[in-house]
Homo-oligomer: 328 residues x 2
């Protein structure tokens, strides 16, 4: 590769601001019923009108972030407000839990069984609060952030299908998203709560999920960090581990912490790319069994866009922070 970082940065920036974002500005706004259309074909036609709260909240986050970090365009803030208004009105139940999806008009379709929805809602409202100064958005972000922490030991609640006690497993996805969430609510949630969340999550990742010998992270481990020999215990999602690592590098870079962890994170990024790499067709596999046994997930050998985007982001951050040539 002959690009340097500033050329790449210009390339991605131009693609984002001249192609991706204008497409969403033009096609995704539901001016009739509020919120956004997110099922768009390549021409911008809407092929489904259901509103998935993950995607509504991610779009509020995106346009709020653009307004704050790229340029204070009124149009961008208006788009963020458009989604935030819909979410305030239709996205949340009486106890402050976020539905998984609602109809185009905002009637709830799928119950708030998915804890990650709440994480994305908190991130969206935090960025929107910072962009708009809307104090109600701040309240929603803080309340949702605390609700996420309150639910973290039993995120699926009554929808949990695991029988308690037989094979307790902890998932890397929880501390992973908490590091990301804490980074995103800075300036909205009190610093002390942010720092505690990041410290606890990084400690959990490094003591339970990080494998000091293999220098990768596992996705599911027993509460003592051991590895039950079962489908869930053996499965690795390279994209998840890579994501976790860059969130941690970013947290340590921003708030300080043990710099030696950054090197471990970069090792894991490089090793997870290698572990997940498809040597025949290239690209990073979605799932791979640590002992190379067949995964139960039918989609295990697919090459997902998000896995590759997270990898590019992780390598760019790893390179810019450490200068390590194996991240170029």
């Amino acid at each position: 590769m002959h690009h340097n970082l500033s050329e790449l940065s210009d390339l991605y920036r131009a693609h984002l601001l001249e192609d991706v974002i204008p497409f969403w500005e033009e096609h995704s706004i539901d001016r009739d019923k509020g919120g956004y259309f997110t099922c768009l074909d390549r021409a911008g036609n809407v092929f489904d009108t259901d509103k998935f709260i993950w995607l509504q909240a991610r779009q509020v986050w995106t346009f709020s972030m653009l307004y704050r970090q790229v340029e204070q365009r009124t149009a961008w803030l208006e788009i963020a407000r458009h989604g935030a208004d819909f979410l305030k009105r239709h996205g949340v139940d009486d106890e402050g839990n976020w539905y998984f999806s609602v109809t185009r008009e905002g009637k709830p379709l799928i119950q708030p069984y998915n804890w990650f929805t709440d994480c994305f809602a908190a991130m969206g409202f935090a960025q929107y609060a910072l962009a708009s100064g809307d104090s109600q958005a701040t309240d929603i972000a803080v309340k949702t952030f605390r609700n996420v922490l309150r639910r973290r030991d039993n995120p699926k609640g009554k929808y949990t299908k695991q029988v308690p006690g037989t094979r307790p497993l902890k998932s890397q996805a929880f501390p992973m998203i908490l590091v990301n969430l804490a980074l995103e609510v800075e300036g909205v949630v009190p610093d002390e709560e942010i720092h505690r969340t990041i410290d606890d999550s990084i400690r959990e990742i490094m003591t339970l999920f990080y494998d000091n010998e293999r220098r990768i992270t596992w996705d599911n481990v027993a509460p003592d960090g051991s590895h039950p020999d079962c489908f869930e215990g053996r499965i690795i999602l390279p994209g998840h581990g890579i994501e976790t690592m860059w969130f941690m590098i970013e947290a340590i870079r921003r708030f300080g912490g043990d710099r030696a962890i950054i090197d471990k994170c970069v090792d894991a990024i490089v090793n997870l790319i290698e572990f997940g790499w498809d040597n025949q067709y290239e690209g990073i596999l979605y799932y791979r069994d640590i002992m190379d046994r067949p995964p139960v997930q039918l989609e295990w050998d697919q090459k997902l866009w998000w896995v590759h985007i997270e990898t590019l982001v992780a390598l760019a951050i790893a390179w810019s922070v450490t200068g390590r040539r194996d991240c170029r």
Copy 2:
């Protein structure tokens, strides 16, 4: 194709009895902890020891069926008994609901959220009761059959994530498996209950799921048979429809009923193969959107073994019952 039905029958029979079944007899019996290993690689090595109740019950069914319909080999009845004993002891909770999976030793792992598990347990115990004359197996089959019917309007119980009322949908999978189940418990469950279950299910399929214009079946419809324009409403699983059709042909052939329905079933088999066919790479797709929009299921374009097996079975039955040349 130049095969005739009796050549094909000899081919499949030899493959089943000389290759497939001996493999399972040799490698799948867990002599130490009871039940069966079902995660076997091509050499017969066990790569996971968790026991999924679907598969345990299907294996009890298979060896009981072989004993009853192929040859009264003691070894086959013993294998069926081996699995039935494990299931009696470990497969079911105090209310008669079947767990989804248990550990190798039989400790429950995943709660009884999956109503199809109960269907397969009832089928397994019914066949085993008929093979063995074990009256306890008869009791379990009858009790589970009635429990399945009792749960049919709310199969997932508290694990249901749909918000009630917003977009009620009925799934073809429920009447489909009830036709199959009713066929499999003949001789164990009183005839009157079997006939009523089959009649009700066929009526539901033909009035709600069968499309008289397109001559295919839909997978999910509104309670009035209309088609909500949403991911679930638009999705068709050709393998499901094909399976439903041959269950219905078999039920009408065995118990009598409206013969005109058989022609509709054969039409749907042929049309669903065509609708699901991948013209580029051949084979039948797992999922296809009726309006050709992108499905949410990542695995939508995979070619699953069960879809193709059900299709072969359906075509063989359709051909033998109607002689229609488009089924050859």
